[in-house]
Subunit: 316 residues, 2 copies
């Protein structure tokens, strides 16, 4: 399937950083940057932009903050066609932290929010655009948003200047039919806007949900190398590039950076499908408890986790 | 999604046996049998039925042969609602090896074939039915079958007595749109027949392709515990049971047997998504070379494998 409007956003460093507090070596971040740029990836999301009032620089690596000097140490002036993206969380950034675009190598700033924060997100996203950046809103935990709340949120985005809204399946609990329904709801409610998808792999559906969304007309597709990400991880970049038939995509450099830098991370940290993530996914719950469980000595005691999660619920 | 006609065939021992030459302990096979029976699985496929002229009993465990005495040592007279299935390969079994159903605890015998063997498969399947068993034909490597061959094969099954034909994506190379097309082709060409699906996970699409086929009207769904199977493995039984809303399915025993018996197998054998399986899947090639690569010391040299596979091809 080839559609020129389709854009790939590789979030390996930003989303994968949730696994190691963004303490990647410069060498790794540079290798990911170069591989993505050479392979035709459209955007690299290199981290979160947040300030030191919100997070400690001792506890978190540079990609939690994305200071301009750190960015330029890796990408220079970014003399590649690939654009640089960062993510901001509502409340973890001040407006004065966002400089004029002409002073920054960042091209796009994405605003992550929950549905009750939508008005704040629109205001921040429009402010970001006024500074010269591209911007999106990434509406998280979509599987928990009720229809009325969603309609109100979509109507607000529709009349705003924000050009791109994401479907974020934070709990990895949606299947294809649900993705289709939500994608078509977004498209219908916001004519002329671009829709994005960010999927998680709790039910082994991250890749299939991403291509389903693409087939329905979503044009911004998030992924990470080897699916690196918290818990069950994300839609793998290598699968997406192999599937989309855009002639600009190359695979060799992607396989190279995976074998040299991403696969070796498996020695120290663990991500990808596991039964506890299936359990939170099928229950449409935040993966938090599954992640804690997988970090404990009892990680392979699936039945115990299942009974703990379902106790008092109607599930058996 | 709940449809009473949907049947789950757990193939853990039969398909997983490709990984260990069917040398499972009796204890493990019994645990899988009991867990599946208690969880509402409709059929357990316990192995291949083949004869000693074709395979050595020294090199292969009992589930490559499924002698009646071995079966009864595990399932007794099978006093459960779950049915017992075995698979046969064309040419690896003689008709005299198939006894009258009343002498066997086997309920269903599935015939695996390639498209050029379809007439032989129909003849064998009808013979099996004449002995009193249920039977299916599992048409392998469907992604390599051209349209004309497929039309001829489907017409032959349509006019036969064989009630069930499977879509087998042996190379794990199909995505959802292709599954829909093939499922609807099968359904249209063979009114009144039941369609099955057996998917592989090279592109992380085994589960999504299985539920897509189910949504299109396929009623026999193959899976294995934790996706155990050759190379990238299969559609995981636990995901399928969690997704299908049939009230008879229970998950606790399935999680128990996974944690006690299937997960520990990961210490000795490796299965599931890996980049070399993606490469053969995206090229619509048999996973043989990827499996050999993953068994070698060079298993993590993805670029080398990719270049070797694509050398001389138009892919980059």
């Amino acid at each position: 399937m080839y559609r020129e409007e389709t854009k790939i956003i590789d979030c390996t460093i930003r989303d994968g950083g949730l696994m190691n507090s963004w303490k990647f070596s410069d060498e790794l971040v540079k290798a990911v940057y170069e591989a993505c740029a050479l392979s035709g990836v459209d955007y690299m999301e290199i981290g979160y932009k947040s300030n030191e009032k919100s997070y400690s620089k001792k506890e978190n690596g540079p990609w939690k903050f994305c200071d301009e000097a750190d960015l330029r140490r890796i990408v220079g002036n970014n003399d590649s066609p690939m654009k640089i993206s960062v993510m901001v969380d509502i409340g973890r950034i001040e407006r004065e932290d966002i400089t004029e675009k002409k002073e920054s190598v960042i091209d796009m700033i994405r605003v992550a929010c929950y549905v009750h924060q939508m008005e704040k997100a629109i205001s921040l996203s429009e402010f970001i655009m006024s500074k010269g950046y591209e911007s999106t809103i990434n509406l998280m935990a979509i599987s928990k948003v009720n229809e009325l709340e969603l309609d109100v949120a979509l109507a607000a985005v529709a009349k705003s200047k924000v050009p791109i809204l994401y479907i974020v399946d934070s709990f990895g609990s949606l299947h294809g039919e649900q993705i289709k329904l939500i994608a078509n709801k977004y498209l219908k409610a916001m004519p002329g806007k671009t829709i994005g998808i960010h999927a998680h792999n709790n039910l082994q559906l991250a890749f299939s949900n991403t291509i389903t969304a693409s087939q329905e007309g979503c044009n911004m597709l998030d992924s990470t190398l080897l699916g690196l990400g918290r818990g069950a991880g994300n839609c793998p970049t290598e699968l997406l590039l192999a599937f989309l038939k855009n002639p600009k995509f190359k695979l060799k450099q992607i396989f190279q950076v995976i074998q040299d830098y991403i696969l070796p991370m498996k020695k120290d940290i663990s991500w990808g499908y596991q039964v506890p993530y299936l359990i939170t996914g099928m229950m449409n719950e935040h993966p938090r408890r599954a992640i804690e469980w997988m970090d404990s000595k009892r990680k392979n005691e699936y039945v115990e986790f299942y009974l703990g999660m379902t106790e008092g619920s109607l599930l058996e």
